[in-house]
Subunit: 327 residues, 2 copies
Amino acid sequence: MAVYTDLGTERLADLIAAYDVGDLVSAKGIAEGVSNSNWLIETSGRDGSPGSQSARFILTMYERRIETADLPFFLDLLDHLSAANCPVPRTIHDREGASFRMIEGKAVALIEFLPGVSPTAPTATQARAVGVALARMHGAAQDFPGSRTNDLGPGENAATLESCGSDALAQIDPNLPAVVERARTITEDWPSDLPRSIIHSDLFPDNVLMLGDRVSGLIDFYFACEDQMAYDLAVTHAAWCFSKDGSRFDPALGRALVTGYETVRPLEPRERDALPLLAEGACLRFVASRAQDWIETPAGALVMRKDPMDFVRRWNTYRERGQEAFA
Amino acid sequence: MAVYTDLGTERLADLIAAYDVGDLVSAKGIAEGVSNSNWLIETSGRDGSPGSQSARFILTMYERRIETADLPFFLDLLDHLSAANCPVPRTIHDREGASFRMIEGKAVALIEFLPGVSPTAPTATQARAVGVALARMHGAAQDFPGSRTNDLGPGENAATLESCGSDALAQIDPNLPAVVERARTITEDWPSDLPRSIIHSDLFPDNVLMLGDRVSGLIDFYFACEDQMAYDLAVTHAAWCFSKDGSRFDPALGRALVTGYETVRPLEPRERDALPLLAEGACLRFVASRAQDWIETPAGALVMRKDPMDFVRRWNTYRERGQEAFA
């Protein structure tokens, strides 16, 4: 949650002039995204009418974590999904047709602004709508020509967690070192033959915009990759169906999410069988990345550290409830 | 630059429902204001037309420094100036007519959104326009019935600086303790009989929105108070006519600012005579507040510390150049 770079109004105006979107009218640095700087931009619009829906954009500057080589995949994916009527923001291309530009060695992209707010206390109706939107996205991405490997699979995540070291993990929480062993089991049992597509793989409520019960936007595709679709459903389940610290599971939300998904794409029996394990793998991923961030981020730094234990608690729920967590 | 409070979408929606502005359509935490949390809010509008200019607002939550008792002064002032055609955002009143509401012990106000961007490298033409806008604001505020004493006068600022202690000041910069003596002289020589009005007293470029060379918004009136108008011009001069670190003075900007001001309200000879001293007093104010913040803010805290020496350098320029800095 930060604006890392102070671009300066004059440079912003020059940048916007590279696009056929009219003149810069307003620019506010917004507190969104952990790895990027983002601005909510308003322009006079192509037809010079300020305030029209089409004249607002999100300008993203990629600060870290995202490889420039991956940007065409992410940005083309937005265009592909948007063209297929998924509620995904289009990439605005510059006058030369490029989907991103470089400023002082950093890539920037201008992206369609979508209305909507992210629910902080989702209802079952909202979770159902998210399940529908996720399944539609999986369907629409089937014929996307780009490809990107998931570099955050269970093996990588288990290795990341292990590399933190027992002592450092124990300093975060005494119960954290115990999950390293579990991580190994997950990796060994991980399925590899479930139906695949491009998956979002980070569909937390923060990355969904809603107008009431309607999904108006799926955003932040910067972890998207080619992988098993049921794993994406499991990630979304872990992200939506618990209280923030993971201590309270809401079965009604879980049920609604899966039901919504299946109205568009019914799960195969082997996918359904795999859901608890896939959800454990989803928890492993966030435990590993949070533990690593925790250790690498000095206390009192500008970035707020997230507690890995939030996802150890979810993990415990999936181990305890198994299939029941999805029914 | 921060969003201090995470309000949560549902609470935001409830809050917006207290105003006759339509439904919440979008809310982005914006990185503006050092003492408040701010959101750029979009609603469906009274007539249900999303995206119309009138359906965007800034929601401000007052986190610290601002006394709730002062809020009616600040917010009524916006309405008064806006009604007098100053480019100042109106306060949106709730359905009961209140200009602010309380949430969890904190005051919040909904304020009109104004287009425009803050210049980071102002031109003389822009400085002139700001001078014009400032003089008009001083004129429009003459019949504002509210009053608020300036609690950041030279005496208070000198006392603040002195209370930091020579050792602490020297730790910030070896040249800083020397200005304490100067601060005393300023206080002794300070005029008290110059023409008065309500002044903005913090009109940095950050607090001015412009569309090209036109001033589209004067914002952030949270230091406004009743005081000598020429002092406000001096503050604005110190804020606009130097490079960020104060090492480079641009006489053309200073000239343009004063010329613009005088097209609306010509300065009396005694005001003009006082300008160098008033500008020194403006520098004293920012040196004192920055030194205090520096000492009170631990290194590595979430708030960026500003170097008091930026305004010692400006101060030196005013001492060296005197009247010449305004000609």
